[in-house]
């Protein structure tokens, strides 16, 4: 088994093939693969070490034994594993316990969950408001000295709740070998065609018809200089505000995804108690914190709302929402856009009531489970197709037919068809309001210009007419009005010649 694993290294450590995560999966019910043979054990350990040094991971899935003897993982590890440092086990480790009956579906689910295990983005210290100056950081504007310069701050682990899955970017491959190509990009002068070396490249920005030169280092320097937090990423709480109600939260100017914060006890002792007590107080007092957050050293600091999240459980006791702090990036003044002033009409109470009835009967509270409901139909279709091409199998009908992001019209109509109809009937007919912008299109079907177009066409004097007059004609005939004057004339000539021909033909008939 371990000899076979060497093949993985041969293939992938130096290969330029597209790389997956390199993993050797070990499915076994043998707790002691070397069976006491020291030479073999040494050989296995060397192979395992070699694999690990080459970045190849090993995964163990212990299978049930027919003799009902439980798989002894520690024995297996002693035979194979190489661990640097201490041997403490993480309290959150995932155990895959396969009982006597091997349930493949359950196994797949467990494996998927293991893949979905969230990895922390990074650990950052969280500092309190006030004169506390972080170790390794400084707040330039305060100019105050700290009472306790060694206070490390509450260290928090940051996690992303959401990782948007997208279609992969295509790779250019050779149609012959189906291997990816080596891509070489060079900079070319568009005037002379010569290849330009990087030393000759200058970066600029256009401002007021002039070029202002910047280097990329200067741009980084501007970012660095604009932040009050230097040296290391951290979160500084600046103060507290009442947690807004859900109806006012939804107006908060969101600009990106939120992150989740949970204390890291392994870095700083006492972290969890400090975090938990502050978290509980924030929940009890119904407050959130406003903070400034530097996520990476060469980034720019941003305002964040730090909102406490209470733990919630499903009926079966499993955790629904974990306890911790939500770090929600907030928009600066520059990021805010104006509300458009169109469509600002207040609906009357009858219509609102009809809408309320519709909402009540189309309620999905029981159906939706965040994280389980609504699969991405575009990705599903894409991967279904890729898989069918790769494996030469027909497309999966089950996947194609199941889409919970589209309407089940029959169900909806049976649930609240009556209320939908009522709402629809209360809405006025779709009469278009005349606006200034529509002036041109409204006049489009009338030839308002008093011009004998046939005469102009015959005498070849269309070019003496103004562009507006030409456009009037084209608009009245439903033709496009874009382009230069010559294009307009050509279009009119073409149109009139067709008209003349048709008239001639009809007369002959």
């Amino acid at each position: 088994m371990f000899n076979e694993a060497k093949c993985v290294k041969k293939l992938s450590s130096t290969s330029k093939e597209v790389e997956d995560i390199k993993v050797v999966w070990i499915f076994t019910n043998e707790s002691d693969p070397s069976k006491g043979n020291e030479e073999q054990q040494y050989s296995i350990q060397c192979t395992a070490k070699d694999l690990l040094e080459n970045g190849i991971r090993m995964r163990l899935l212990n299978l049930p034994r027919t003799d009902k003897v439980r798989f002894d993982r520690s024995l297996f590890y002693d035979s194979v594993i190489i661990i640097d440092g201490d041997n403490d086990f993480d309290e959150n480790e995932i155990h895959i316990e396969i009982q006597d009956d091997l349930n493949l579906e359950g196994l797949l689910e467990q494996v998927s969950e293991a893949f979905l295990k969230v990895r922390k983005l990074q650990s950052v210290p969280m500092y309190l408001p006030g004169k506390e100056i972080p170790t390794g950081c400084r707040i330039d504007t305060s100019g105050e000295t700290t009472n306790n310069p060694l206070y490390p701050g509450i260290v928090i682990n940051l996690y992303h709740f959401i990782r948007i899955k997208k279609k992969p970017l295509p790779t250019v491959i050779s149609a012959r070998s189906r291997k990816r190509t080596n891509k070489v990009t060079e900079i070319l002068s568009t005037q002379t065609g010569e290849i330009i070396s990087k030393e000759r490249i200058r970066h600029y920005i256009e401002f007021g018809n002039e070029r202002v030169y910047f280097t990329k280092d200067e741009v980084d320097q501007i970012k660095m200089n604009s932040t009050s937090i230097h040296v290391a990423p951290c979160l500084i709480l600046l103060g507290f505000k009442p947690t807004p109600s859900i109806s006012s939260i939804i107006q908060c100017p969101l600009i990106s995804r939120s992150m989740f914060a949970y204390p890291d006890e392994t870095c700083v002792k006492g972290n969890r108690r400090a975090f938990a007590t502050l978290h509980a107080s924030m929940l009890r007092k119904r407050v959130m914190a406003i903070g400034k957050f530097l996520f990476k050293t060469n980034g720019t600091e941003r305002f964040v709302a730090v909102i406490p999240q209470e733990e919630s459980l499903f009926e079966n006791g499993e955790q629904n929402r974990p306890p911790g702090l939500i770090i929600m990036p907030l928009a600066f003044e520059d990021d805010i856009r104006a509300i458009p002033d169109n469509g600002m009409i207040a609906a009357d109470m009858k219509l609102v009531e009809a809408a309320e009835n519709m909402i009540r009967h189309l309620n999905l509270d029981r159906e939706i489970v965040i994280g389980e409901s609504f699969e991405n139909p575009a990705l599903k279709t894409f991967w279904n197709y890729i898989e069918s091409v790769a494996l030469g199998t027909p497309l999966s009908e089950t996947l194609l037919n199941h889409d919970d992001t589209s309407w089940d019209v029959d169900n909806i109509l049976s649930a609240c068809g009556e209320h939908i109809d009522k709402f629809n009937n209360l809405l006025p007919e779709n009469e278009h309001v005349t606006s200034k912008n529509k002036r041109k299109s409204l006049s489009s079907d009338i030839d308002v210009v008093d011009i004998d177009w046939i005469k102009e066409f015959n005498e070849n004097t269309l070019d003496k007419l103004s562009v507006n007059e030409l456009k009037y004609y084209l608009r009245s005939k439903g033709e496009p009005i874009s382009g230069r004057k010559a294009d307009l004339i050509e279009r009119i000539q073409r149109h009139i010649s067709v008209v003349v021909k048709n008239e001639f033909a009809s007369k002959n008939v």
């Binding site: 491959i173 920005i205 002039e210 202002v212 604009s226 003044e333 709402f423």
Partner: protein, 656 residues
């Protein structure tokens, strides 16, 4: 966190046309802001008492503010246009008259109108060159005596020429020439101290006021050392103008308006008595007072504001107002339910601003490696482009030609070739559309899954049906505290995304409920596969309710409770973007400048860094912070040796 930001309405036109008028009368030599001590009022030099206050001549302050306003206009949009008129210049040069000094002397008996005005730029897209011209504006050297001792009435008129009334009329003419019949946001911004007598041609001024009202052009007066401020939106009824102006045209002096105090929209402030120590000062004060009243009166009937600005920051803030850019409205179908579809519009309500992307060009280097310049001192550059070639991975010398290339998508370690036609076939066909799948209680969709940027869904302005449908839906959702779960197809045939629709509640109505929501806010949320399985140990085991630690935390929160207005991110500009823009402007104006301008307001008594806790709060809460630190003694764990590595599936993996 309050959304006062989003409650502002956008103007109808996105393109702006602004004419700036700057006064260069001799009185603009005086220092600004004025000295606080009465003895130093109107003094040329600042007093010793005010040595700590950064002061400069009024003209310098006006120029600095003007450059700030124009650069702001340039940064807002490349399509914005502006013109600049300089008052009381020695020469006369504008689109109505182009006279040189000699001509002026020759024709001075006949010409008294629109002279001593210079149009630095007609209404057009501003350039850096215009900013440089503004930098070089100086006080006119031809100061004339205005004590009224000159014999001829024409001479007196000449002395008063080039005043702000002429400037406003010229600005109107300039705006009308360029923007007549076009959709623009028009505005005239006048920066003056109004301490010089002006010619008033009432017939022309009446025509100008009517004309400005007709083209919906606001007048904003930035009054340096003014005593009063006023705001008129919308402008007063014009019939009153005629009556009042007629009443005041009987004398040569500017009109006095008595009705201002009774106007509930006028906001007169700081009425102070004028120092009457000398006759000359009294006369100057009277002129300024009369001019202020005239400008307030003009503003009242044109519509706009008069600001008594005391700092450059105030000038910038008050003249430009709050800049909220508009987003493009995209046309979408809003499918509320089967058989209920309306025409709607969607636009971004937030967008993460970043630095503008840098463009590239190639320069020529000499033997020393220095950039070569032409005889005019300009950098010799050539535009560049990227060219990419593909080479066989097995045979690095063989180029893979375009016809022999394909696109491959990874499936395991394999690359599966997929053609464009196949990809087209995989697209989910749809027009741009928001489809409501159902509704859920607001609490069912946790904040952790909300994703920015947010968008606003409103009814199409052409369709009353759509507007009413969106409005009814917004009101119903608000009343029931529900959210609509929907899909959103941004562009034709693009992949759908999941989202929620929530009622957009405007600022004051959150608690009062006076205003009903009329539009919907779209917030993106993830699909099932995008959400990560996050499970954490309970925290409540580490908290004891009767613990002293709990009280410490409670006290800390109480000590640092902020008001609504404090630390409101939506009213604070991004310091990095501000720094970049300032640096760019500085470099554009001064080609030798190679440094970086800081965007962050430095700590000082008055201008506190907006991104920090208020100083008073920090001092008041010091005790609570210390108590927290003492109660929760945090101790860094010393790491020994390498970090543990776990390699097996049954162990969680950590980064090394």
């Amino acid at each position: 966190m309050k959304s006062g930001v989003v409650a502002k309405k956008a103007p109808t036109a996105s393109k702006q046309a602004i004419v700036y008028i700057i006064d260069t009368s001799p009185s603009m030599k005086q220092f600004y802001p004025p000295s606080t001590s009465s003895s130093s009022k109107n003094a040329i030099r600042p007093s010793d008492d005010d040595i700590n206050i950064e002061r400069q001549p009024r003209l310098d302050a006006a120029k600095e503010a003007l450059i700030g306003l124009i650069t702001d206009l340039m940064l807002q949009s490349k399509t914005n246009e502006c013109g600049v008129i300089v008052l009381h210049t020695q020469k006369t040069k504008h689109h109505l008259i182009d006279l040189r000094e000699d001509d002026l002397k020759k024709d001075e008996q006949e010409v008294t109108n629109f002279i001593h005005l210079t149009e630095l730029s007609p209404v057009q897209r501003p350039s850096v060159d215009l900013l440089r011209q503004i930098q070089s504006i100086s006080i006119s050297s031809f100061e004339t005596h205005i004590d009224g001792t000159d014999s001829s009435n024409t001479r007196m008129m000449q002395n008063r020429a080039g005043g702000f009334c002429d400037g406003i009329m010229l600005a109107f003419s300039s705006l009308k020439r360029k923007t007549s019949g076009k959709i623009y946001n028009r505005k005239i911004i006048l920066i003056t101290d109004a301490e010089r007598e002006v010619n008033i041609h009432w017939d022309q001024l009446d025509g100008t006021v009517e004309g400005l009202r007709e083209i919906e052009c606001d007048l904003a007066v930035i009054g340096l050392d003014f005593q009063r401020s006023a705001e008129y939106h919308p402008p007063a009824v014009l019939s009153a103008t005629t009556a009042e102006t007629n009443a005041t045209t009987t004398s040569d002096g500017p009109p006095r308006e008595e009705g201002d105090k009774n106007d509930n929209k006028a906001n007169a402030i700081n009425d102070q008595t004028v120092d009457t120590s000398t006759e000359k000062q009294l006369q100057a004060a009277m002129i300024k007072d009369d001019n202020e009243m005239l400008l307030i009166s003009l503003t009242k009937y044109i519509g706009g504001t008069v600001h008594a600005a005391s700092t450059i920051q105030q000038i910038l803030k008050q003249a430009s107002g709050r800049r909220i850019p508009k987003s493009a409205l995209s046309k979408i179908e809003l499918q509320i339910a089967p058989s209920v579809t309306v025409e709607a519009r969607i636009s971004l309500s937030t967008t993460k601003q970043s630095f503008p992307s840098l463009k590239r060009e190639a320069v020529t280097l000499n033997e020393k490696g220095e950039v070569e310049k032409n005889v005019l001192g300009e950098i010799m550059s050539t535009p560049v482009m990227n060219i990419t070639s593909h080479w066989d991975i097995d045979d690095p010398d063989v180029e893979v030609e375009l016809v022999k290339r394909a696109q491959g998508y990874p499936y395991g370690s394999d690359l599966i070739p997929i053609g464009d036609m196949e990809l087209e076939g995989l697209k989910l066909r749809s027009v741009p559309r928001v489809t409501i799948l159902g509704f859920a209680a607001a609490e069912r969709i946790p904040m952790t899954v909300w994703m920015g940027p947010t968008r606003i869904v409103s009814g199409s302005v052409d369709s009353r049906r759509a507007c009413l449908a969106v409005s009814a839906l917004a009101q119903a959702l608000y009343g029931l505290n529900q959210l609509a779960i929907c899909t959103f197809v941004k562009q034709k045939d693009s992949d759908p995304e999941m989202g929620i629709l929530a009622p957009l509640v405007e600022d004051q109505s959150i608690h009062v409920g006076a205003e009903k929501p009329k539009v919907l806010l779209y917030v993106r949320m993830p699909f099932a596969d995008d959400i990560q399985n996050l499970t954490m140990n309970p925290l409540k085991d580490h908290v004891r309710m009767d613990d002293k630690a709990t009280h410490v935390c409670n006290d800390l929160i109480d000590a640092f409770m902020l008001s609504d207005t404090e630390l409101n991110p939506a009213s604070i500009p991004n310091p990095a973007i501000r720094s970049f823009r300032k640096t760019m402007i500085q470099r554009a104006l001064d080609s030798d400048f190679g440094g970086i301008v800081h965007g962050r307001i430095q700590n000082s008594i008055n201008d506190m860094d907006p991104m920090r806790t208020p100083l008073q709060m920090v001092e008041a809460g010091e005790k609570q912070t210390k108590a927290f630190r003492d109660t929760f003694a945090l101790e860094e764990v010393q790491k020994v040796g390498k970090k543990r590595k776990k390699f097996f599936f049954s162990h969680s993996e950590e980064d090394t």
